[in-house]
């Protein structure tokens, strides 16, 4: 807790405010913030409280969730290439969400949507960890991720194409790329409980992940229960990624870029990297969501496009470096 914590919270706070004042309606900054806090009867209050506030809150929550999940998986697998989007967890969560929406489960069961996405994400994480093994070599991790992503994407497209709703098939892009456009407080309420729960679970792993850097035997000798750690990791990741994907679609690369950038700043300690990545992820997603609104305000440019443009080159760089190291 230091200059880094201070700097990251200041960055997130600034971007959160910026997300509240950017939008197609021409509201003055002070006028808008006043309407947000003081309320009243005008349409400004509606715009601030029902459109911009939920969007900014979701950017904060979902960015934080993805950054945290990325840092936790990388810490556990001791592999910098693990990102929930890249290894197919987000894709399987999207499949769960789409199934819940199209079968009507989302409309009939309370929290049916995020729970179904959680179930999908659980399947994804479980498969990846089973295939990659406890030390997850880069090659098997990425290959397993490609296979799971491809299968989940194909099944998601199939479900959407079979839907009686003609709009559903056009939404494949949303589920693959993610967007926060036109979300409401309802979506905040849907995502918040599971993101909080999963966040607390992943946050509790800090000590275990630090111990794991010394190797599994050493960690066990230090009193870390590896089975429990693994279970908490799986459920925590599935909860945050599932809830995030259920309302915003699969947004990739946040969990890859953020831990990579912050790792040197926390002395490469996976435990400290967890909270730092949560802040960093929130900052990155808020920035990306501001960018899509500023660059193409009328087109609903997908968030995943921006995060991939930033993240994919870094991913290539990481693969190149891993190869050089002969892993």
């Amino acid at each position: 807790m230091s200059r880094l914590a201070l700097g990251l919270s200041a960055l997130v706070a600034t971007l959160f405010l910026a997300a509240l004042v950017v939008g197609p309606a021409p509201l003055g900054i002070w006028h808008g913030l006043q309407a947000l806090i003081a309320g009243g009867n005008g349409p400004e209050v509606l715009v601030m409280r029902e459109i911009r506030l939920p969007r900014a809150l979701l950017g904060l929550m979902i960015g934080g969730a993805l950054g945290l999940a990325g840092a936790a998986m990388q810490g556990y697998l001791r592999n910098p290439l693990a990102d929930p989007g890249l290894i197919g967890v987000s894709g399987s969560a999207a499949l769960g969400a789409v199934l819940a929406l199209q079968t009507g489960l989302a409309a009939t069961v309370a929290l049916g949507l995020p729970l179904a996405a959680l179930a999908g994400a659980l399947l994804g994480v479980g498969l990846v960890l089973a295939l990659a093994g406890p030390r997850g070599s880069s090659l098997t991790l990425i290959l397993a991720g490609i296979a799971i992503s491809a299968l989940a994407a194909a099944l998601t497209s199939l479900v959407l194409n079979l839907s009686p709703n003609p709009f559903a098939a056009n939404e494949i892009v949303f589920w693959m790329m993610g967007s926060l456009a036109d979300r409401s407080m309802t979506h905040v309420a849907i995502a918040a409980p599971l993101i909080l729960l999963g966040g607390v679970m992943l946050g509790s792993l800090a000590r275990g992940l630090d111990a794991l850097t010394l190797g599994e035997d050493a960690a066990e000798a230090m009193g870390v229960n590896l089975t429990r750690l693994r279970l908490v990791l799986i459920f925590g990741t599935a909860a945050v990624v599932g809830a995030a994907t259920a309302v915003a679609g699969a947004i990739g690369f946040v969990g890859l870029v953020v831990p990579h950038l912050l790792r040197p700043l926390v002395g490469a300690q996976p435990g400290r990297l967890l909270w730092a990545s949560a802040f960093g992820g929130a900052a990155m997603l808020l920035a990306a969501d501001i960018a899509v609104r500023v660059i193409l305000p009328a087109r609903d440019l997908k968030l995943g496009v921006v995060t991939a443009l930033v993240g994919a080159p870094l991913f290539l760089h990481l693969i190149y470096r891993t190869r050089q190291e002969g892993l």
């Binding site: 309606a25 029902e50 459109i51 839907s163 009686p164 709703n165 709009f167 036109d182």
Partner: protein, 287 residues
């Protein structure tokens, strides 16, 4: 009396001279493969003249003439099935099924394409053309007269006009240079799309819609099965704009095609307009 008789004879003569020439041209086996030509043809064709309509004509969400369409065999707009029906005239839309249309023309079948109607004036144009194609000019003229009369009955003494927003999936709206825009205007409503500079249509962001504060919001009816595109119609902001004010969702089948069924849409909107005006008077009285 004499003059009238002479007139009738003249018409008889005209018809007498015209008919033999027409009889050869009049198509006997007509297939329609577009929702809008389906309905125009069903309205105007002679008994047995129209032998098939498109599958959409049977879809109650899109077609205003589902009951009538039940009497006709379906086609799915595939060149093969249409060719096997041995039509002497195929009716198609301008922008759909272009490959099928090309194929049918190569096979030597006459295909007539209709542009989608973008104004109320074009409704009568389309009916006139369909009447001519089917050799049913007199029936078409009758229906056009009735249509014009009923349309005129909507256009009397409307003021002040409430501001309405058309709001569809993904935040789309229709501007003034569209059939839907014309329907609003004919019903005595102002389309806020025009205020926002949207001529033929486009997206109104939720924020812009909220700031425009329309007197009423007309939404599209969601399809079965969920979609994110339509979720915007149940967004709390749309709910807040509709709360405590008259509003409605549109019956799409009356709005899609340039047929006399647009009168039903105009009637529904005129009723909405009266509700909004009555609501406004009540509120002023309360003050």
């Amino acid at each position: 009396m004499l003059a009238a008789k002479a007139g009738i004879t003249a018409i008889g003569l005209l018809a007498g001279t015209a008919q033999p020439a027409l009889a050869q041209d009049v198509p006997r086996r007509v297939v329609s493969m577009n929702l809008c030509t389906d309905q125009l043809a069903m309205l105007l064709a002679d008994k047995g003249q129209l032998i098939s309509v498109s599958d959409l004509a049977h879809d109650p969400r899109s077609s205003a003439m589902v009951a009538e369409a039940a009497a006709y065999p379906v086609n799915n707009g595939l060149a093969e099935e249409i060719y096997l029906m041995q039509p002497d005239l195929v009716l198609a839309g301008r922008y759909s099924q272009l490959a099928t249309v090309d194929m049918l023309r190569r096979l030597g079948i006459r295909v007539e394409q209709f542009d989608p109607a973008t104004s109320l004036d074009q409704v009568t144009e389309r009916m006139t053309r369909m009447g001519a194609l089917l050799g049913r000019e007199d029936i078409a003229a009758d229906q056009i007269t009735r249509f014009d009369q009923r349309l005129a009955s909507f256009r009397d003494g409307i003021a002040p006009r409430p501001r309405a927003a058309l709001y569809f999936a993904n935040g789309y709206t229709s501007g003034d240079q569209t059939l839907a825009g014309d329907i609003l205007t004919a019903a005595g409503l102002i389309n806020i799309a025009a205020e926002l500079g949207l001529v033929s249509g486009g997206v109104i962001p939720l924020e812009t819609l909220a700031m425009a504060e329309p007197d009423t919001v007309v939404t599209g009816q969601p399809y079965p099965g969920a979609s994110r595109s339509e979720e915007i119609l149940s967004h709390p902001v749309v709910g807040a704009l509709q709360a405590g004010r008259p509003s409605t969702s549109m019956n799409a089948q009356d709005w899609l095609c340039g047929t006399p069924y647009v009168l039903r849409a105009i009637g529904q909107m005129a009723e909405l307009r009266r509700d909004v005006q009555a609501d406004r008077e009540r509120q002023q009285a309360r003050k």
